[in-house]
């Protein structure tokens, strides 16, 4: 894993540790907005109940995606804002950063959305999300006891994931 060393955002923030433990939480959604997985490693503040929190996150991504596609200066013909797009149509964002956290987002053409919230000074995590997608394939999709489209209850996936996220710097 490469470390890109982002620019200093707020001097008061604790430095991200090269040894890992930079993950705050992670969501996995499918196309129908079902939260397949929610993992939390470091989140001191909860303001909403879990269901509302998931809906808010999904809604944020959905709107942000259609906004970024609308703002795209390179594509000439675009539909109006809010008009449903075909999957894969329009551009999308892969991360944003605030002064307290960084959110990295990946969506597969099959509609699986993986969201990882980390320390703001973590580097480019796109490859990490791809790796997590591969973990999802190995531990969840290939699990015959898992019914597609339902929340993931797979201990092996959770432990592997925890281990991997702890190593992200």
């Amino acid at each position: 894993m490469q470390f890109f060393g982002g620019t200093e955002i707020s001097p008061s923030l604790p430095a991200s540790t090269a040894s890992g433990n930079n993950g705050h939480m992670m969501y996995v959604f499918n196309r129908n907005g079902v939260c397949l997985l929610y993992r939390e490693w470091n989140r001191p503040l909860h303001t909403l109940n879990q269901q509302q929190d998931h809906k808010l996150m999904f809604g944020l991504l959905f709107s942000l995606k259609s906004l970024t596609a609308k703002m795209d200066p390179t594509t000439p013909d675009k539909a109006n804002l809010g008009v449903p797009q075909l999957p894969g149509q329009g551009c999308s964002f892969h991360s944003f950063r605030t002064n307290t956290y960084k959110l990295t987002f990946m969506e597969s053409p099959s509609g699986i959305k993986i969201i990882l919230v980390t320390h703001p000074r973590t580097g480019d995590l796109r490859e990490s999300l791809k790796y997590i997608y591969n973990l999802y394939v190995e531990y969840v999709v290939k699990n015959p006891l898992y019914t597609p489209g339902t929340p993931i209850r797979c201990e092996l996936f959770n432990t592997t994931l925890d281990q991997y996220v702890r190593s992200i710097s």
């Binding site: 490469q2 196309r31 129908n32 907005g33 809906k55 999904f58 809604g59 959905f62 449903p84 797009q85 075909l86 999957p87 894969g88 597969s108 053409p109 099959s110 509609g111 699986i112 480019d124 796109r126 490859e127 791809k130 997608y133 591969n134 999802y136 394939v137 999709v141 290939k142 597609p148």
Partner: protein, 186 residues
Amino acid sequence: MPPVGPRSGDAIFANVERVNAELFTLTYGAIVRQLLTDLEEVEEVNKQLDQMGYNIGIRLIDEFLAKSNVSRCVDFKETAEVIAKVGFKMFLGVTASVTNWDADGTCCSIVLEDNPLVDFVELPDTCQGLYYCNILSGVVRGALEMVSMKTEISWIRDMLRGDDAFELQVKLLKQIPEEYPYKDDE
């Protein structure tokens, strides 16, 4: 990290775990044989194989996407090419070709010259209506449905019925746009 382009079917096939081809062929044969015993009607077996394929396809698509690095296809033509060149190679070890496009580019044929499923297979007279490889059409239908393409798939040619190749007709019915899944006042 440099962006990684889509990988070729051969490259993926070289890297994935594989099972012995004969074991695979014989296992599939045993499944079909058992279905014929259990369901009795050939028509029912065709339906069951298609359903089994569909269930495989909706899972297989994620493995395909994760390993092939294919991100998006510009049109259905590219989709068909990717299925034939990358998909079939990756999971069956053979390459198919795409032909017989209609004018709107929504209907084509995937032709398989070589099909590991049918080694050692001969259809007896009682099973003439059987689409032995119907699981494949289910897989393609299921996988495409997960990337929002509703398709209709049928066999045009079948080597077990005396044709010179396997020909799978894929017809794109519609593409489903992505909509906001929640109601406002939920």
